[in-house]
Each structure stands twice: as structure tokens, then as C-alpha cells.
Symmetry: C2
Subunit: 198 residues, 2 copies
Amino acid sequence: MHPLRAYLHRFVPELTEADWQPLAEALRPRHLARGDHFVRAGEHRPELALMLHGSCRLYYPRPDGEERTTYFFFENHLLADYPGCLTGQPSQFGIQALTDTELVVFDYALLRRLYDERPVYERFGRLVAEYHLLGTDARLTEQLLLSPEERYRALLASGKTKILERIPQHLVANYLGVTSVSLSRIRGRVARTRNQKP
Amino acid sequence: MHPLRAYLHRFVPELTEADWQPLAEALRPRHLARGDHFVRAGEHRPELALMLHGSCRLYYPRPDGEERTTYFFFENHLLADYPGCLTGQPSQFGIQALTDTELVVFDYALLRRLYDERPVYERFGRLVAEYHLLGTDARLTEQLLLSPEERYRALLASGKTKILERIPQHLVANYLGVTSVSLSRIRGRVARTRNQKP
DNA sequence: GGCCGGCGATAACAAAAGCTAAGAAATGAG
DNA sequence: CTCATTTCTTAGCTTTTGTTATCGCCGGCC
């Protein structure tokens, strides 16, 4: 089964071959080399993409020229300037490949048409939005409830080990809302308190 | 027009009288006195409510007995343990009235049935989830990108003046992810730097 | 009126995080 | 293999925040 069809299937198992066809015909493969962008801040890119392989980051440029990375994407994640698709505005952020990445891309306009023509896509859209809302809300809550050290420990304990294994530490620091220097100190503390107990 | 119907209408103007009827018949008015809960942490409450009047807070209890308030709700906001509705799990948080509050309540099970029976509700569900996702994402980004003082200034500049006008300051501090003492200091700094320039 | 509890400002101290810089370790390129 | 770049750690210092406690203000309640 096509990876995108499998992705849809996880949310809407009732998806038929007839539902799948119009989307399948519109798919475009795309390759991003390390450092390439799926979208840059300021661009409008009303496209969605499923990642087949690789890793990407979402980052915001700041007035002072610095960047802050707030999300990571791996295989089987959807990639898009979702706010831009919904509002028609240019993207506030960039999405950049951290390693060589393979995508299949389709237009947001097509998805909108499928929302109207095939109810199963409307349901898919609802479920995807709900799923992401739950995740984003949990992460916001973590930011508000936990200290930086607690957030690092939570990341250790969570299923998101890919982030720790495959992402440079200064970007993980951004993701946790601290500086890389501070994360390094936290790691030192956590490692030490681990060895203390026994 | 009924306030809930007006709320629906903002997302799905195509909603017909026939669409509205089954929901209208199931509505239950409810009153919360100051301090009453719509849902407590640990309860399962698969209901949605539209606020007609009043103000509520969403808060997480912590192991140490403290509480952290992360959201506020006012007139014309939907109220629900959304994660609990979606997963069937008990709520992680409480929702409590800060002032006397009027609600209209209906069951999540009904909404699920309407998702199946009337496509306009499926679309409504998608749009509401997308809308809230945008808001939550913006707030998470603010937490990751801005310092506490910048977040306070952003709140001042935003359209959310209700929060500053109607919510006790120590709860606003929670909402911004700082302590009440720190927010008090920040307010002092901001007030001083305002008067400096002229 | 007087009492009391919640709320907000402030101070003093401790703890943590930010900033800058330097150096070690790992990674890549030629 | 070597050189250069990136990444990570560590240190010294500054700034901010957290913690605890006190005090004043205000509003509700008897």
C-alpha cells in the first residue's frame, strides 16, 4: 500500500479505492537535500507533503537574525505550512531538511476540493486536526507546568527518542525552550543524579 | 438566533434549520456559581458546553498540591474536556467558574452521531479543530520564542485584553508561565520603561 | 465598625538560566 | 590523512526568575 494511503487509512479505514484515486494521481515525488527548504519564512506554499524518509525542522527566524527550532519531523509525518494554507498568508516559519529527505507532495487546493466531493476526506481532516491539537496542547501544557530540567526528563521518558538520537543538541535545546548551554548543564545534572542513588 | 447556532454559523454558514433541530432539542441549560466545576481532574465528562456568560479557568493540579491555570474562557467559547472526549480517558484538568456562569450543554455522543448523519457537522468539527490548533500553536510558539517579559508585552498588545481586565493577576502569571512575584516585577519594569522614553 | 482572607507589591536571598568565551571531541571535505 | 567545521562541554560572570516572607489594600462578612 502506498505510504500516504496507509497514513490516511490509520485515520479513516473506510477509505475506498475510488476515494484514493484522485489523490494518488496528483502526487508528486520530491527530494530535499540536507539544508534544502520545503518552505521559507515569507513564502506562501499551499502544499502538503508526507515524509517518506529523512528528518526536517520547523524554525522561526527572529528579528535579531537568530533562529529558533520548534518542531521536528520524521518518516510518516505530514509537512505543511498549515496556518498559511488556512489563512492564505505567507509562512511565518521555515521547514528545512536536516538530512536528505524524500517526500510526496500534493496541493492544498486538491484537499479542499476533496473535502467537498468526498466526505471521507472531511472526516480525515477533522481527525488529523484533532490529533495534532491534542499533541500541541500537551506540549504547551508541558511548557507551562514543568521546569526545563523536568521537560528534559519528560523527553527522555517519552516515546520521542528519535529527537534525542537524530537531532543536534542545540536544536533540541530550542525545542525545549532553553539555550544549548543550559541544556548541557541540565544533562550534566541529570546524569549525576542518576548515578547517585545506587 | 440561538447563541450556539450563531457559533456554528460562524464556521458553517450553510447550516440549515433541519441541521440545527436535533442539536437544539438536546440542549440543557446549566448554571455554575463562582467556584463550581464544569469538570474536575479525574472525572470523565463527555459533554460540550457553550458559555453564554461568565468566566472560567482550566487548571492542572500538581503532585505537590499546587495548581497551574493554563486557559481562560469567556462568553461564546466552547468548553469541554476535549482530550477526554476523544480518548475516553478521565480528565487531566479541571474547569472551574471564576464568576457566575451560564452554559448550554450537550453530549459529545450526540455530536459524534451528527458527524455521521449530517456532513455539515463533520465540517464544523474540522474547522473548530483547525481554528483551535492555530491558536494553541501560536501560544506554544510564543512560549518557545519569547521571554516572560516579551510574553507579557505580547499579551498587552494582543486582543486578549479580557484576560488582563477580568482575571486575577496570579492566574495570569500561571497563564504566562511565570510566578506571580515575577509577573509583578515584570509589570514594574514595563511601567517604568514606558515612562522613560518621553 | 471591625475582622479576616484574598490579592498584589516589595525585599532579601537562593537557584537557575542567559551570555560570552574557550577548548575538546566528533564530523566532513578534500 | 589532515584540516576545517560543527557540536558539545565547561567556566566565569551577569541577569532573571523562584522562594519565602512581610506589608498594605480592599472587599466581603459578621
